[in-house]
């Protein structure tokens, strides 16, 4: 099987981008990715568009066709398809595009993700986000995604004797890193007590435990075309791309405070890449909720994850740099785009172009994108040769 590389990346700023529509965001990111790759639209074989809920956020479906049209490439007849897997849409689109290129069906593909979330009031946005849960058995009864995260947190504190500080620290880390990333939604540094004492969203979680509503788009160009890889200044190899799923509803899971799918997709990705955790220089995980960050790290590292919190190992200049981009929490959370921004951050790090937040000597990065709370899990490992 042939190797697949990322040869171009492009992203908009993330944030409350009142002046930009979904189509403008998507085409800006796509164009930047093509420019970064140094290729023309004619050289693209397919377009994969990731989006979670444009139908509800802006009354627009058929997103991939729209992006293609608005980017001015419809005349070329390039196939365009939307991939949706909750907030894991970006990772899932990358996975599907990777499989298509790996199989030889396509040589060069653009994968873009976009979400326009701030055109609706926040209470409506929260209902839309709840669409990633089970409508019949969860949201119908008033459950929101934040309340699911809160139940998981309560259970985890009770079962595993985890302290509030063990997961409240993750937003602190993300904000610190986001302050060094120019495209971040938030650039302010926060403290542990800010997280714990902020307004409650669903107890024990506060507004600082949860990722914001953001607008934004991110896109990458992947290829297996040898000529393009050779001409690329800094190609980054996709060493593994795996997906796994768990029960959609929390009540169907044997243990609600564990993410089995994460464990599975990460293990398979490590196996696929021939690497072990010792070879990974940095991690981008899905920090939509602080408690979710802790459980993802526990699924990857087991009990060590908490010790790593206590030893401050997750900062960019420490032993296990985590969410050096600023994560969903502080870099921003435009649902369908985040999985692709994770790939972009990893690419920037592996190219050695991350400026003051650069992870020194970074060779391999593991990124984990998640739909729901542990429902859909996508792991990608990127590396330099």
């Amino acid at each position: 099987m042939r190797d697949v590389y990322i040869i171009g990346v492009g992203s908009t700023k993330y944030g409350e981008l009142w002046d930009m529509s979904l189509r403008e965001l998507a085409s800006e990111a796509g164009l930047k990715a093509l420019m970064d790759a140094g290729i023309k639209a004619e050289e693209i074989d397919a377009l994969y568009g990731a989006n979670t809920s444009a139908g509800q956020f802006i009354d627009q479906e058929h997103i991939a066709a729209l992006i293609s049209d608005y980017s001015g490439i419809s005349e070329l007849g390039i196939p365009a398809v939307r991939i949706e897997a909750g907030a894991a849409s970006g990772g899932a689109a990358l996975n599907q595009a990777y499989l298509a290129v790996k199989s030889g069906q396509y040589d060069t593909v653009v994968v873009g993700g976009v979400e326009k979330m701030t055109d609706v009031p926040s209470e409506v946005a929260n209902e839309i986000i709840g669409g990633s849960l089970d409508a019949e058995w969860e949201t119908f009864f008033g459950v929101t995604e934040a309340s699911v995260a809160a139940m998981i947190a309560k259970r985890h504190e009770y079962d595993e004797r985890v302290k509030r500080e063990h997961y409240a620290v993750f937003p602190v880390i993300s904000h610190k890193h986001a302050s060094m990333n120019p495209s971040s939604h938030f650039k302010n540094v926060i403290k542990l007590e800010d997280v714990i004492n902020a307004s409650p969203v669903a107890e024990p979680l506060t507004v600082y435990d949860t990722a914001p509503l953001s607008d934004g788009a991110s896109a990458i160009v992947i290829t297996a075309d040898k000529k393009k890889i050779k001409e690329s200044e800094n190609p980054i190899r996709i060493k593994a791309s795996t997906m796994a799923n768990d029960f959609l509803s929390l009540h169907d899971r044997k243990k609600i405070d564990s993410f089995k799918a994460v464990n599975k997709s990460v293990k398979e990705a490590l196996k696929q890449s021939g690497l072990n955790l010792g070879n990974i220089d940095g991690y981008e995980i899905h920090d939509s909720y602080s408690i979710g960050s802790l459980i993802q790290m526990e699924e990857i590292f087991g009990k060590e994850a908490i010790k790593m919190v206590e030893n401050n190992e997750y900062y960019f200049n420490s032993s296990h740099p985590l969410n050096v981009s600023g994560g969903l929490k502080a870099h921003g959370n435009p649902l369908g785009a985040v999985g692709l921004y994770q790939a972009i951050e990893a690419t920037i790090q592996l190219r050695g172009k991350a400026g003051e937040r650069q992870i020194k000597g970074s060779k391999n990065m593991l990124i984990h994108n998640m739909g729901g709370l542990g429902t859909t899990s996508v792991t990608t490992i990127l590396g330099v040769e």
């Binding site: 409350e16 009142w18 002046d19 701030t118 009031p121 926040s122 307004s199």
Partner: protein, 348 residues
């Protein structure tokens, strides 16, 4: 340019505290007090509306001046809660205030800056020589849906100005900035307004208020330190405080005009009641920057200099703004909803 000949305000005596509203809706009052800087708000009594509030403010303005009512050739009333959808508030006020019937009159609406739009229109008539003096009023009994964040701020009050050639404070310049920005609206027939949440901040309030203030200072060649007072539209206490800081004004320049923390947002009277409170204590030579904001959206900025005539001006003939603020009758949420007509009565 025209000047302020006289002014007067009216604040209903009924008040409700943020704690009382938060108690009913199960919210933490500290978030409202600390986050929005709103401690209490005024509530119109059962017999009060924009007409009665305007009449009280107008009477206070008339009382303070010896200028004859016969010289008032225009009355414009800005509000987003006129008692009638069709039938002017202004025409009733002509009779209520005993103004001559040979008068230009109209009601205005531009969310929270309808009162300043009224001032500008009177200025135009005065400056063109069409009238000698004119009255401009901004008043509201603003609406907030039960449980909505607006319920903490939407309050009642009114301010009237008599504008003419010779007065107590020169309006050196006025400037307006307008864009199509849907941050806050109420459709015909709807009881309560809708708002765009966080969209009401940066792209609406701050963009327009800051642009209004900056362009005014550019045109006048002034800096924040050239002003003794600054007053901005105040939907809550936090926004104008932040806007003042962003523009480079100090607390002592803005504190006298910042009233929303105590009486809530009086909408069309919001900025001008702050200006009224400043004029209550202003001295000759004091310079004031005043910027109103109206959702939808636009800002009206005024550069004002108080002159020597304020010394002989009879401010004491009518109660000042602080005097009215400091005579509250505190009510609970039950009386609040009764007074505001939020209880469904038999036959409704």
């Amino acid at each position: 340019m025209s000047s302020i000949v006289s002014y007067g305000s009216y604040v209903p005596r009924y008040r409700i505290r943020a704690e009382e509203i938060a108690r009913v809706w199960g919210e933490d009052p500290e978030n409202i007090k600390g986050g929005l800087m709103i401690y209490s708000k005024s509530v119109p009594g059962p017999d009060e509306d924009v007409l009665t509030i305007s009449a009280e403010a107008g009477k206070n303005a008339i009382k303070r001046t010896d200028v004859s009512k016969k010289t008032i050739g225009a009355i414009f009333v800005g509000s987003e809660s006129h008692p009638y959808a069709v039938k002017p508030t202004a025409s009733i006020l002509v009779e209520a205030l005993g103004l001559p019937n040979d008068i230009h009159s109209a009601d205005y609406e531009f969310a929270c800056k309808a009162g300043t739009a009224a001032i500008q229109n009177v200025m135009g008539l005065v400056d063109s020589g069409m009238i000698e003096n004119g009255m401009a009023i901004g008043a509201d009994t603003s609406q907030g849906a039960p449980g909505d964040a607006l319920e903490y701020s939407a309050s009642a009050g009114g301010t009237a100005f008599i504008i003419g050639k010779k007065g107590i404070a020169e309006i050196n310049k006025t400037y307006s900035f307008t864009t199509d920005t849907p941050d806050f609206w109420r459709r015909e027939g709807e009881k309560y307004p809708s708002h765009g949440g966080r969209f009401t901040g940066e792209p609406a309030y701050f963009k327009h208020v800051l642009t209004g203030a900056k362009r005014m200072m550019e045109m006048q060649g002034t800096k924040p330190e050239d002003y003794d007072y600054a007053v901005f539209h105040q939907p809550n206490g936090k926004f104008p405080t932040r806007a003042a800081k962003m523009l480079g004004f100090k607390d002592e320049q803005v504190k006298d005009g910042l009233l929303t923390p105590y009486i809530g947002n009086t909408y069309s009277s919001s900025m001008i009641i702050g200006l009224s409170a400043i004029l209550d204590k202003a001295e000759p030579g004091d310079r004031i920057l005043a910027v109103a904001f109206g959702s939808g959206a636009g800002s009206d900025a005024f550069d004002i200099t108080v002159n020597d005539s304020i010394k002989s001006y009879k401010r004491d003939r009518a109660p000042g703004v602080m005097e009215q603020i400091n005579r509250p009758i505190w009510i609970d949420y039950a009386n609040y909803v009764k007074y505001r007509g939020k209880i469904i009565m038999r036959g409704e």
